[in-house]
Symmetry: C2
Subunit: 365 residues, 2 copies
Amino acid sequence: MSAPPPDATRIEGFAAVIPAGGVGSRLWPLSRADRPKFLLDLLGQGTTLLQETVSRLAALTDQVMVVTGAAHAPAVASQLPHLSADDVIAEPSPRDSMAAIALAAAVLEHRHGPLVMGSFAADHVIGKPQALRDAVRVAVRVALTGKIVTIGISPTYASDAFGYIETGDVLDGPARHVVAFTEKPDAATAQRMVDSGRYVWNAGMFVMRTDVLLGHLERLQPTIAAGVRELAAAWDSPSREQTLARVWPTLTRIAIDHAIAEPVAAAGGVAVVPADLDWHDVGDFDSLAEVLVARADGITVVNRDAPSAQVDARGVVIVGGDRPVVVVGVDGAVVVDTPDALLVTTRQKAQLVKNAANALDQARM
Amino acid sequence: MSAPPPDATRIEGFAAVIPAGGVGSRLWPLSRADRPKFLLDLLGQGTTLLQETVSRLAALTDQVMVVTGAAHAPAVASQLPHLSADDVIAEPSPRDSMAAIALAAAVLEHRHGPLVMGSFAADHVIGKPQALRDAVRVAVRVALTGKIVTIGISPTYASDAFGYIETGDVLDGPARHVVAFTEKPDAATAQRMVDSGRYVWNAGMFVMRTDVLLGHLERLQPTIAAGVRELAAAWDSPSREQTLARVWPTLTRIAIDHAIAEPVAAAGGVAVVPADLDWHDVGDFDSLAEVLVARADGITVVNRDAPSAQVDARGVVIVGGDRPVVVVGVDGAVVVDTPDALLVTTRQKAQLVKNAANALDQARM
């Protein structure tokens, strides 16, 4: 396997893996357990976040694999008609990101031999897809040397909502050694990190050789390594379901950050490619409004044509609905009008929405 | 005509007149130009404000007359099936309260000779109807002496939303002379008025002999007096419509407060019966919520059965709708969910809602 020329359109020997999980509960009632965030056309542009994720990677590779919950596999296949059934991996139950990504790595390697895979969340928004593809090219080059490579987001403000990656010495072009991954900081710590210029946001994007990943796993998470090897051997055979039923429930529940990124970084095995991607996780209605452009009247609307007006209020966000909406005197109000549920909050309180569905369940009792 | 015995169920020679006008624009989108406040079951009790108004007066008299806009006359008749067609006076166009009340007085007197009439708004809430009836009995007794009599509401707080009536010497039992009517005061003035113990709220209820009212009008508003006399003579004849078309547009637009109450009070001709009626004008969603009882979870719901919840929020009001509603982090939020429009405001800002329909009309353009 040799490094691709940097100006190639496709990257030979590269596969994109898209773990499509997570409800996005702070986006209730748009998102539901049976209608998770990645299946939504959150920006009202006619394509879902999953479709956009696949679309921006399709220029790099024909090999795109989606890993999702069994309940969502039909919707994923329906949204991605060009994907073959072999490229949708259905998990019988959620076992966190390490099992999902390791299974994809093992299946890819079993089918094709070792290659470089990139793992990209299905529900993020990237305003500069070409910058992502440029960063992936660099990441693949570094990954071929045996590093676990992450693409880190150059911070645009001192967010306390993301984990940060501390960068070290220059490795290759824009790529740098990773000193450490850090948890979400408090606001003051976040400000110091951003001011230092040495930290980037952890957006959960990893590029690595499948053999390197599985090798780390054999050492650090042997149960997962053995399990996904066994699953991969059975995957394209009649015994897939039987093996899944037996092996899947035994896999350790752990995130790739804790299983691989943190311990391998501590041993000097992780690199980062900082990038300016206009990246947004769009985790709640406030960050959704940040991604969108407000109308001339100051209202940000998502997925609606009906008239809306704000009276004595600023920065209002109105999502969905086919009825006129008026907001009087609630600055930053967020109104989400869906056929079967209505949410009212403010941009400032939007992160509390994850408790809304629970509160509603209690109200029903 | 003699004073009725105070313990009689009916008051002989007494007619109730109910001017049913005003949209109640601060209750948009419940209230609309074609669905004004008085036609609404605002408290969710199965009867409309108009029906409640008629019901609480029906114990005093068989003679109930409703004066309303021509557009609303069919709905009024439909809500009050026991009323004869003769007892619904349809105004071709709104010409303020004096023309409406004077026309009713003239028609009643033309049909029955002079009697005592009481005028009561169609869209107020009165929690103590028996106290109202007791006050009306006293007012009728005083009105028979030739006074214009108003029923004043004993203030329960220093509201700056109502006009006040300054009371003077005792006249007859609880009835007192009126010194003056005052406009809505500022908050500090309202506090001084309430602290003095000499002021009551002006709820726009007037009890008076038709001949006394029409006599004052001949002197103070001769155009109205002559116009309604002519209309009354033609009312129960084939020339009603023709006379209405000719005379009605000539009637002076003026409120009864300015036309009669203020000038007659200045001349010592007005009395007031203070009363504790648990009276509410329910002008906006904040005052509506005050009238209602919150559920155990702190949410006040109106006209809905669907589940609702508040998260990190207090004192939420949810009106209408058959969908689940969740409010996150907006204290005192008011959510009005109707099939064709949605309003979001707070109890504190509820008085600004009157601008909402206008804002929406502009947003449509």
